[in-house]
């Protein structure tokens, strides 16, 4: 099965940005314009994550509404979701899946309620992992502490949250974000062999060839990337791009 190839768009204060290691958001452009371009390129799917630092509970519906209206591919939204009402509103405006991260830790009851109301296929569990001193840790953002480690055993954590009933897990490799280092193929293989539900991975992609290699090496459901779809190359000149269907089918063996 050909994996879904997924651009990840980061929003900050209603603008499109791109980070490095989840930090230093650089302004890229207008999110609506980017969405239109991706839509014209018939993307498999799009993930939008709002990284604006704000009191939780605020969602930028107006920009999302405008983006959803231009998006004719599956759209996942993550960022600041902490109630059923917000989820209802997001689905109504045309979001296909919502992704939760800190809610997994802070409000497991909400996660349970979201899954039972909207179905597991609509709720994505997002996990950020980071490699420090050769070890993988689950990482979460904290407004006060900059870093915080949630779990030392990534596999155990992934299995734990899988058991909560998510339809998909979205794994970000934080230390590879925006670094053009290539995907962490070894770890991705381990992850896909450890959990049963579909996994989408992101972090490190330096060129389309990394996507082809990962697709051919692992049984992965989704391959996501940020920089490679918004920058021309490592020098970070902005260019919204996405491979053609023929190009994907030629490079990924069935």
């Amino acid at each position: 099965m050909i994996p879904r190839i997924i651009p990840v768009l980061l929003l900050k204060d209603s603008k499109l940005v791109k980070t490095k290691k989840f930090r230093d958001p650089t302004y890229i452009g207008d999110p609506l314009n980017a969405m239109k371009v991706f839509s014209d390129k018939f993307v498999d799917e799009i993930i939008v994550v709002d990284i604006t630092k704000r009191k939780s509970g605020k969602i930028d519906y107006s920009i999302l509404q405008a983006m959803a209206a231009e998006c004719f591919s599956p759209l996942t939204y993550g960022g600041g979701i902490n109630s059923i009402d917000q989820a209802t509103k997001l689905f109504r405006l045309g979001v296909e899946k919502i992704s939760v991260n800190s809610a997994i830790r802070k409000s497991p009851d909400l996660v349970k309620a979201l899954i039972s109301r909207f179905g597991s296929q609509s709720i994505v569990g997002s996990v950020d992992i980071i490699k420090v001193f050769g070890r993988y840790r689950v990482y979460f953002h904290d407004r006060i502490l900059k870093y915080n480690f949630l779990a030392n055993n990534v596999i155990d954590y992934m299995r734990l949250i899988e058991s909560q009933g998510f339809g998909e897990l979205f794994v970000n490799f934080v230390d590879r974000d925006g670094m053009f280092t290539g995907y962490d193929t070894q770890m991705i293989k381990t992850l896909t062999e450890s959990v049963r539900c579909p996994i989408t991975v992101c972090g490190g992609c330096s060129a389309y060839s990394d996507i082809w290699n990962l697709a051919n090496d692992c049984n992965i459901s989704g391959i996501a990337a940020g920089s490679v779809f918004v920058f021309r190359n490592k020098r970070r000149g902005v260019l919204i791009n996405y491979p053609l269907v023929d190009q994907i089918e030629k490079n990924i063996g069935l």
Binding site: A68, S73, L75, T88, R92, Q121, G167
Partner: protein, 210 residues
């Protein structure tokens, strides 16, 4: 007027966006007046079976909706959960389905492949008609589901999707059609699908698009 049935928990926005883009007049509603004036009804789907059934049965317009579909034969399209709601039952819940089609909804087998079944799949058409693509094997649709439909009458199966999970991608019985995939999320293939579905029931001509 095509009515996108609003039961409060579906992704009505995506369907609305796509139909508007092909120049079709749509209304997101569940009111009795809108259903009485509907020339076509779309039941989109996000959510679990029981939540969907309870929400639909709770509508003030529920009996009007049933009459529109079963007596007045207004073309109806169920998408994903919407397709499943029109069957008699589902492994996902305990509520009875709408039972508009002689079919039931069953759980996908995890031993056959990853569940949910998620991603883009090609279709094999069982019927050669205007709703089927002329370019079979070329157009693909986005699927994401953990349950799928089994038709009691194989003649109602309109298309199959083959892969790790072999599923009924679409069924059609009279004015009732259900699709397991999400045409509203299948970009160019989705636009083409909606045009064909509407055209089959005489609800779309090229001049409608501008």
């Amino acid at each position: 007027m095509i009515v996108i049935l609003d039961v409060g928990l579906a992704n009505v926005g995506s369907v609305e966006n796509m139909l508007k883009r092909i120049g079709v007049q749509v209304m997101v509603s569940s009111s009795t007046e809108s259903i009485l004036s509907a020339t076509g009804i779309i039941i989109p789907g996000v959510g679990s079976f029981d939540a969907g059934m309870l929400a639909i049965k709770d509508l003030d317009s529920f009996s009007v909706l049933e009459k529109a579909v079963l007596n007045r034969k207004v073309p109806v399209l169920g998408i994903c959960l919407g397709m499943q709601l029109m069957t008699t039952s589902s492994d996902e819940g305990v509520e009875a389905g709408l039972g508009w089609v002689d079919a039931k909804t069953v759980r996908l087998h995890p031993e056959r492949g990853v569940v949910p079944n998620m991603g883009w799949r090609y279709l094999s058409y069982m019927h050669n008609d205007i709703v089927s693509s002329e370019i079979e094997g070329k157009d693909k649709f986005y699927f994401v589901h953990s349950f799928s439909v089994l038709c009691e009458n194989h003649k109602n199966v309109h298309a199959l999707s083959e892969g790790n999970h072999n599923v009924v991608a679409s069924y059609r019985y009279d004015n009732i059609m259900g699709v397991q995939f999400h045409p509203e999320k299948s970009h160019m293939y989705g636009f083409a699908f909606f045009r064909r579905w509407l055209a089959y029931y005489g609800l779309y001509t090229d001049s409608a698009a501008n």
